[in-house]
Chain length 164, copies 2
DNA sequence: GGCAGATAAATGCATTTGCATTCTATTCGG
DNA sequence: CCGAATAGAATGCAAATGCATTTATCTGCC
């Protein structure tokens, strides 16, 4: 390779025509992913001061909101894979954040709920979570926020048909 | 499930007052995350037929769009952690999808680019990616899509200040 | 020039993840 | 009712991940 070519910003091998097929800056999965990861990373850092991980917080937030749930319900609500969640719940149980209990009515299922300690911790975390969200939404009008919520719901619903 | 926990009577759940503090259904990080994960999961399934993972596709998409990049630039563009990306690039290099080359101007850095084979594969994948996006955005007007893009950019920018 | 400090990428290692499978319990068809 | 099929959760295991550190290079200052 000739000297002086290395490190140039744009390679000659990429015709402009190619690029036109696909504009990353207008590609929804990309925009969604990077916004989501950035928010997640920032909040993870805050959670680490409580010795918590983001998936733990997600479980706690869902249990706070919905009350006790079966593991399968939590899989759906948290978007965490089933085996991952099973182990996460075992560790959260070990730390006294949640309690697991076989369901009397259907002993295949396990009911998960926040312990009082878990609830207290969640109560502490909620203001931090809302502050994070507030920063992310700086400069948004209430109408914009509503519209955004609605669109994210629609995307979630639309994307359901992409699964199997 | 550890033995001895079944049937324990745990007083149930959630005073209504608690719930009011925090409405998950209007919590941006939650809505963002679940929409993103669902789209990602769906596209991962398509990619598996090409023996590719989603992070590989992200790298390919960024290189397609931006042309050759340093590893550090790819970290930023793909939101993939540096050590993870370093290993991912090694594996993509081994499979002939990308080429890595020490930068002549600054030998600390490594320039990454799509190989011709990587470019061909990317060209094949783009229509699939756009079809996925199209499904997710079914029923959206062009104005809504524009507004969504803009808001996701703003969130990404706003969230930057959360990362000290 | 030479060294202290900074920057880029790679690597060691423990943890997390996810697919495939297993184990237990329930439901359904005869 | 009984056995096969199904459903829910846990687990084995290999792969992916991320933090902390290392290795290599560069930059600025004297």
């Amino acid at each position: 390779m000739p000297a002086g070519k290395e490190g140039r910003a744009v390679p000659s091998s990429q015709p402009d025509a190619d690029k036109g097929l696909f504009d990353l800056k207008r590609f929804l999965p990309y925009l969604l992913n990077r916004a989501g990861i950035r928010l997640a990373t920032a909040f993870s850092a805050e959670l680490s001061r409580f010795d918590l991980t983001l998936p733990m917080w997600r479980v706690m937030a869902v249990l706070w909101h919905h009350g006790e749930q079966r593991v399968t319900d939590l899989v759906i609500e948290t978007t965490i894979e089933q085996s991952t969640l099973s182990r996460l719940l075992a560790s959260m149980d070990g730390r006294g954040l949640v309690a697991r209990q076989r369901n009397q009515r259907d002993a295949r299922t396990v009911i998960v709920r926040l312990t009082p300690a878990g609830r207290d911790l969640t109560r502490q975390l909620i203001p931090l979570a809302l502050r994070n969200e507030g920063t992310a939404l700086q400069g948004f009008s209430p109408q914009e926020i509503d519209a955004l919520h609605t669109m994210l719901f629609r995307i979630f619903d639309n994307a359901a048909e992409l699964l199997d």
